[in-house]
Each structure stands twice: as C-alpha cells, then as structure tokens.
Amino acid sequence: MPSEIKLPRLGQGMESGVVTKWLKSEGQAVAKGEPLYELDTDKVTQEVESPLSGVLLRIVLAEGEAPVGTTIAYVGEEGEQVPEAAARTTPVKPEPEPEPEPETKPEPAFEPVALRPAASLDGAEPDGRTKASPLARRLARERGLDLARMAGSGPEGRIVAEDVKRAVSAMAAPSASAVGAAGAPGQVERIPLTNVRRTIARRLTEAWQAPAFQLTSSADMSEVLEMRARLRERAQPGERPASVADFLTRACAQALIRYPGVNALWLANAIEIHHSVDIGIATATDRGLIVPVLRGCERRSLSELAEARRDLVSRTLDGTIGLEELEGGTFTISNLGTFDVEQFVAVLNPPQVAIIAAGAIVERPVARAGEVAIAPVLTLTLTCDHRAVDGSVAAEFLAAAKGFLEEPGLML
C-alpha cells in the first residue's frame, strides 16, 4: 500500500501551508530524511524531509495552499497503484485522539517542551493521531507515560518500544555519562540522545530561526543586596528570605505588566499578548535544561514568589514536577549568576517572544554623582523575537526592570 504524505503541522497554531516546490518528481526514488518538497508556512519556508523511503508515486498537490493533514503525495514501492479515489487533494478530517487509558495517570515526564504538534517531522501524525506499536503502548501504559508526548523513531514515525524505554531511562537514570568515568586516551563515548535532549535540540534549532536581537543593560544592585540583608536579619527561624533571583523575578514581572508586548507569544498567524505573567525559570538539571513555569507572578508578593519559586525549582531538580507545570510560560528567565558568568545571551524559548539572561553580581567601579564608587552590578541581556517585539518596546521593558532592581521599593 502506498503511504500518504500529509501536510505536516510544523508548529503550534499552524493551520495550513503552501507547497511551493517539489524537490523530487513522480517516479523518482526518495530516501527517508531526504528533502522532498518546500513548504511555506506563516512562519517560514522550509524544506520538508520525506518521512519514509520509497518511490514518489504521485504528487497530489503540486503547488498551492492546503490545510494541515491534507494528503499531498503518495510514496510507495515502484509500480504500486495509488488509490484513484484519493488521488485528488481532499483535506483529511482529523481523527479523534484514541481513547486515553482511563486509569493512567501520567507520571512526571521530563519533556518540558515535547509539544507533539511541533514534532511532526520527527514522528507525530499531522492529524494528531499517535502512531505506536502495541508493545510501546503496553509499556507506556504500565509505566504511566503519555505516548502523545513522545517522538517515534520507527517506520513512518511510529513510536516503538525502544522510544518508550529511552523515555523511561531518561527519567530513571539520567546521568549515565557521569563525570569521572575513566576512559582510555582517544576513546570516544557515544551518548544516545534522550527525549529531553532531542526536544532541547529541536526547540532551540527552531528558536534559532527567529530573527532575534539582544539588548544589554547593567543594574546597580546595592539596594537589592541591602534589602536582602535586612530580610535575612529579620527572618524567623526556619524562614528563608527572598534571594536575588526572587527580586529579579519580581522586577521582570512588574516590568512585563507595564510592557505586555514583551509578555507575548508568537503564533503562526497572530501575536498573543498575555496579561498574566507566567515566567519560565530555566533550570539546569542532570537530565538537561528544564523550564518549569511560575504562574501569576504579577500577583505574588516577593515572599510568595520566593516560596513558590523555591518549591518549583526543587521539584524540578528532584524530578517530581508535573508535566502541566512545564508548559505555557509567557516569558523566561535564564540565570547563570551562580556560575560566575558576567553576561551571556540566551536563546529564545518559542513561542515566547523574549527571554532575559542574568549573569553574576560583580563589584565594579561606577560613576555616582560625579564620583567613582564601587557597586555590585548585575548585567542583564534581553533577547527578543523581532517579528513580535520592536527594539524600543524591548528597551523600555529592560529599563523598567533595571529601574525596579535599582530602586526595589518601587516594585514592592
């Protein structure tokens, strides 16, 4: 049976795409992974790879626009007949998701950004159906994993047992490549990609295509440090006062409320401005980078923020965080301050349009009222998606955040 090539969903919110050019002609052999055609979406024009090997039997949609899921071509074995009834372009009605296992409660899986629709190229069906082998389904059921969040490595993107086992081992034994494993000089260690690593790679590659720009500004942190010292003095036994990171989160939240254009998502056909500030906290774990979301930051006091953030990060580190807490952020903070990095540029976390990178607080000479003084300085670098955010808005936001850090009383 020839296999249908369907118009893939290349990103969340993508409804349709325009086939601009076929890179293979009918009757030509095509290998899995070889570029097959060019697709123009609202976001980008890109070459789409063939999901399987075979002969391009029939191009159904030579050029033009079609909804996601439309059959645009058939690939099969040489000489195979393409079903006549289906030979013309007819949009395929999305099948409903197969009945989820009622007793299954998804356990925390560490795939913060394994959003299936965007994974079309590495396995998801454009119509949202999850293609998985019976064994993979059973393994996932037994382990309480959600197949819809996995990428399939089998033929035509089918999720096979190996994919489930990989996802399980990514959860259970994350740091197989622990430092210090003795190896002979010249020996190469090959680490198979975990789902988390694949997802990170795919998402960041996607982010890299966005036209991004960066703005850098430094904040004098004297006031924040002084306030933190006072909070520490007054802390009750057992109480943990706010840290610099909490001040930063608070400052960003208050600045985002004033400049909601930065608290936004870039969708295929719209920009979505959010009025609730849900900040992703980029967290380094031994499984890789995970970004749990701290919701409603604009409504939380500094101490509430501190408590919530601490809880979120610790559950992320020990792996008990829920999947739903890894999705839906509107802005991201990446903080390498504890690593003694002075400043750096963060890569966007799509579909969010901005991310802020915070370095370490470093004592620097600063000019204050005509005098040179030594002050603790925090360097912030904001990365924005220029498709959604213009430089002036970004600059105003950054200035506001800097202002709140320099005069924390204004944001409390």
Binding site: P134, L135, G154, P155, A161
Partner: protein, 330 residues
Amino acid sequence: MPETKTRFSYREAVRDAMSQAMRRDPDVFVMGQDIAEHGGSQKVTLGMLEEFGPDRVRNAPISEMALTGAGIGAAMLGMRPIVEIMYEDFLTLAMEQLVNHAAKERYMSGGQLKVPLTVRTQGGAGWSSAAQHGQQTEGWFVGVPGLKVVYPSTPRDARGLLWSSIYDDNCVVFFEHVQLYNQREELPEELEPIPLGKARIARAGEDVTVVATGPLVPEALAAAEQAEQDGISVEVVDPRTLQPLDEEAILESVRKTSRCVVAHEAVRRMGFGAEVAALVQEKAFDWLDAPVERVGACFSPLPFAPSLERACIPRREQVYAAIKRTVGSE
C-alpha cells in the same frame, strides 16, 4: 553400545524412515507412480523394490484419485500405507479423496474407522519446473479439519517426522521439497521419532522471530547470519508440523523478540503465513513492536524462465529485507 553416525541426505532420511518402518511392520507399504524399478521421479524409493519386493513397493497407474483412494481403503482396513504423489501439484487430482474421505471417515464413522495413511509428496520451485510442477500447495491442506500436515526442512526432521506420520492414526500429508533432497546431516543409525505438532528453534535470537517452513528455513538461517552482521539477533522457528501447529512455541518466541516475520515459498496471499500472522496478532498483540511481515512468492503462476522464477519466489534476500523492515532499519 557405541553410537554410530552416518551422513544422511534428506532423500536418504525419508527412505530410511520408510524402510525401517517396513522392516519392523508388515502393515507398512508404499505405492506411487514409477516408484518401484525407477525409484520415483526424485529417486526417494530407489532400492526399496529390491529389499521389500513388488507387493510392498507398488507401482500405481497414473490416477492420483485411484491411488489415494486405494491408500484410504487399505488404511481403513488396518494397513499403514504410504502413498507417494509425484508432485504436489498433482494433489489437486486426489483432493476429493483427501478432503472428503481421508480427512472425514474417522469423524463420520463416530471413531469406528481410522485412516492411518501417509501421503508423501514432493515439489517446490527453483529448478524451472514452471507453473504446473513447482507450486507449493501445503496451504490448501492446513485448512482441512481432519488432516495433519507436515513439512520438514532437515534430514533429521524428515526421518523422525515421517516415522511419526506413518504411525499416526490420522491421514498425514507429508511435504518434501526437491531443493532439500541433497541437504546432508549426520544422524545416528537408530531412528529418533519426532512428535507431530512440535516446532523446532532452528536458531536462537533476541530481536526478531522468523517463522519459516521448508526451504525457507535454510534461507532464513542465511538471512539471520547476514542480519547478525548488522547487529540484529534473529530467532528462526521451524514449525515442522503445520497442522496441528505448535502455537505456543511461536508465541513464546514472539513474546521474547516482539517482532515477527513469516516466510514460506508458497504464494504470500492466503498462505500459511497469513494464519501465523493472525495467530500472533491475536495472542501476542501487546508484545508486538512492529507489524508482522510476510515473505512468500508473488501472486502469479510460477514462471518457467529462471530469471522470472527467481524474481517470483522468496529467498534469503527477501527474508533479510523483511527482518530489516521489522526492526525499522530498512
């Protein structure tokens, strides 16, 4: 007593089973076309006339229906006849006797009659025998309740299974493949009966099960060697008896490997492999990690031209390709 071993060809192993039974038991005799002086078209009965004489090694006229009917009658009256049908293509001419009588008399008589008849037949492709002398017809008989169907792939299995077929109280259709007759194996002089209905693991493996019959067993073993080079561990299961089928052996293997390829020389469509594929999905569905692959001849009369015949019938390349597909690395 020191055990002496002799190299037996598949042909000699078949002959040895018949001869040993005939030496032991006067009720056993063999009949078929040209089997006496001529030794049969494939020389399987060569020399048996000299040992057992014309009453027990009987030439039959060219009527498969009469020959099989005579065998059924003798069997119902207490003999254990062995009937040779020169090519399995000609089983069509004995179909009425086999399907309506050999398979049914025991049932229709409420167990008062039994038909301990063994119908040996030979055939298969690979020697340009064309569309009427090289078909594989075992699939037509596995669907007949009341018949047993045996298809050995090695000399040891041929000898041990033919013995058990002769001494089974039901009609057994026993398939031999012309391409296997010269396969050799060292066997003890003492015949080891092999029970009907028991599969053999021809090769142990971890990643994919190949259920193969007849000549596809050695071909599957060769494909498994090749797959081993790619790091794929293949288990080859030879059911040996197609009816009754050793379902548990197949299922146990598939539950271990999670992948299954079925391979036979008969046409793929509606073949024995379809039944195995159905069995596996019915009883091992939750263990399957890939669709069951079927390897068989293309749906065409068997061509005479050697090049076309090669294109039509499956060999190790097709089994290898199917193995690769099931592990997702075509």
